[in-house]
């Protein structure tokens, strides 16, 4: 799927404390979390982000606390995906489990700037990020097979449901 959106660019080591500070974890309301998404890293993000926008980040995105609300806040900001140079392990799994596409690329980070409008192709096998007129296209790393299966299901809950419905609870 190709989606056009604004690039929100962040640096290295953006922690889950920056994505959703602990003071907001009292609430489990996804819209409340989205209203404070990226609050520690950008004062404008939560009020200006629009559906389809793209979060572009440096290395080790989502480091720190395992709080899944960091992903929930981004999902309910209706961004199309995150593209980062690399991810912290737990954040990556949480994103996949909640159905948020996460792609890796060094080149995209070097190519695109904050505020630029770009087009993301979220094909998990050959994802790409292109400039608005598609004059320049950067290929992103393909999503690993197992993560892709979960993302294609729409996240871990539907994925596990399929396994349960298929009687796969008994064959381990």
């Amino acid at each position: 799927m190709r989606i056009q959106g604004r690039i929100w660019k962040f640096g290295d080591d953006v922690s889950t404390d920056l994505i959703i500070p602990g003071r907001h974890l009292n609430s489990y309301d996804p819209d409340h979390l989205a209203a404070h998404a990226m609050e520690g890293a950008s004062k404008e993000f939560s009020s200006q982000v629009e559906g389809g926008d793209i979060v572009l980040a440096g290395r080790n995105f989502g480091c720190g606390s395992s709080r899944e609300q960091a992903v929930t806040a981004l999902v309910h900001s209706h961004i199309s995906c995150v593209v980062a140079r690399s991810y912290a392990r737990i954040f990556y799994r949480n994103a996949v489990n909640l159905g948020l596409p996460v792609f890796e690329s060094d080149e995209a980070y070097e190519t695109f700037t904050d505020g630029e409008v770009a087009v993301i192709d979220t094909d998990l096998k050959s994802p790409s990020l292109s400039t608005a007129g598609c004059a320049h296209q950067v290929m992103l790393s393909a999503v690993p097979h197992h993560a892709a299966r979960i993302l294609e299901s729409g996240g871990l809950v539907p994925y596990v449901k399929t396994r349960i419905d298929g009687g796969m609870l008994d064959d381990k």
Binding site: N26, G64, S86, A88, N94, N97, L98, V157, K161, I164
Partner: protein, 396 residues
């Protein structure tokens, strides 16, 4: 990649989130509630209606599922209880909905953090997919100077590895100095390995581990150590004698230097506690400095023991009297201040020195506050001085 069956699954207040996802499966209950440990520790006792509702829902849930290993508010911090209650044992696979689940490596259990929805999947399937990590070996040699402890070693390692230097890897501790590390100090190192990105951290199963399970040799049967010809993706050597008291911050754990670099920096709050450094030996070292002294007038000292047992032992040893007489404020056994969730929240422009594990902006409250990380001894010395201070100045 492997599909692995966990021996223990841990969740805290986010059990609420786990159950929200789990309910979507329409199953009667988790695959094996005897492997579940549920602890209320992050926001205790409930400080507002939202939290009270979450706690009530979790109490109802553990009753319904028959979870025996449920710890209500006041028992302590989840990672502390896994080890203190001997739930975690050598060779176990432990999954927890908290990043610091790496702490169980202190007793040779492979502990790793996962998210809430992932845990719902584990409750349903009884298994998880994991990539078998490469291992980085940290060899500990030499002897620590007095009032220098495993937290200083951890901060020193953080400055070498950075926040992702051990990403996706298991950090294994070895070397001639391993027997000198207590279970408590091993917990601190395994806990802080998370701040270097580690998926898990492991101490070998040795005499210290065996002594942790008195009269129960079977407890350590699953324990293991690396083969002599094991391959490591990276090797790091630490000479313990060269490590000074370390302070890190603000904002980045790896911004750690000798305490000298920060001395005389004014502080507003000092916090001793958390899964990193809230144990008996931590409170003992802080009380040793505070005994007969006073917290500086401009400064608040907060102390939260990691568990009821730690609190009780600290009372018996007289440590709490020393802390309270010095002007310290006791908090219930829990996580609160470390993540700005409950008690001890920092205002804009405030400076805190903390024995916890993270100093990210906004972690303990305002984005415009500064957090410095250090050992309990350094935190206590700083509370007395009203500014970051070298604990060795208070050696008696």
């Amino acid at each position: 990649m492997v599909e692995a069956v966990p021996d223990l699954v841990l969740s805290h207040e986010n059990t609420f989130l786990v159950s929200n996802s789990f309910d979507e499966f329409g199953l009667e209950g988790p695959w094996d509630s005897s492997r579940m440990v549920v602890v209320l520790d992050h926001r205790i006792p409930a400080h507002n209606l939202e939290t009270a509702k979450v706690h009530s829902r979790i109490r109802e849930l553990v009753r319904r599922y028959g979870v025996q290993r449920f710890h209500d508010v006041g028992d302590g911090v989840c990672h502390q209880l896994l080890i203190e209650r001997r739930y975690a044992r050598p060779g176990m696979l432990v999954l927890g909905t908290d990043s610091h689940t790496t702490t169980t490596g202190a007793v040779g259990a492979f502990g790793t953090g996962i998210g809430a929805t992932e845990m719902a999947g584990v409750w349903a399937l009884g298994s998880i997919w994991l990539k078998v990590p490469e291992t980085v070996r940290v060899t500990l040699d030499g002897v620590l100077e007095k009032l220098v402890c495993s937290k200083d070693v951890a901060l020193s390692l953080a400055s070498r590895f950075g926040p992702s230097g051990a990403d996706y890897r298991c950090m294994e501790f070895s070397g001639a100095a391993v027997p000198s590390f207590s279970i408590s100090s091993r917990m601190t190192l395994c806990n802080m390995a998370m701040e270097m990105g580690a998926k898990a951290a492991l101490f070998p199963t040795d005499e210290v581990t065996r002594e942790w399970y008195p009269g129960d040799d079977s407890a350590v049967e699953g324990g293991c150590s690396s083969d002599d010809d094991a391959a490591f993706c990276e090797e790091v050597h630490v000479d313990l004698g060269e490590i000074p008291p370390m302070v890190s911050g603000p904002h980045r754990v790896e911004a750690a230097q000798s305490v000298e670099a920060f001395e005389e920096l004014q502080i507003d709050q000092a916090f001793i506690g958390s899964c990193t450094n809230g144990r008996l030996e931590d409170i003992e070292s802080a009380a040793g400095i505070l005994n007969g002294r006073k917290v500086a007038p401009c400064c608040r000292l907060l102390v939260a023991p990691a568990s009821r047992e730690v609190l009780s032992d600290s009372i018996q040893q007289g440590y709490i009297s020393a802390i309270v007489a010095a002007g310290g404020i006791m908090l219930p056994p829990g996580c609160g201040p470390c993540l700005g969730a409950h008690s001890g929240v920092l205002g804009p422009g405030e400076v805190c020195i903390s024995s916890s594990n993270r100093n990210f902006p906004g972690r303990m409250g305002s984005d415009a506050a500064e957090i410095y990380l250090a050992s309990p001894a350094t935190v206590a010395a700083s509370a007395v001085a009203g500014a970051i201070a070298d604990p060795r100045r208070y050696l008696v």
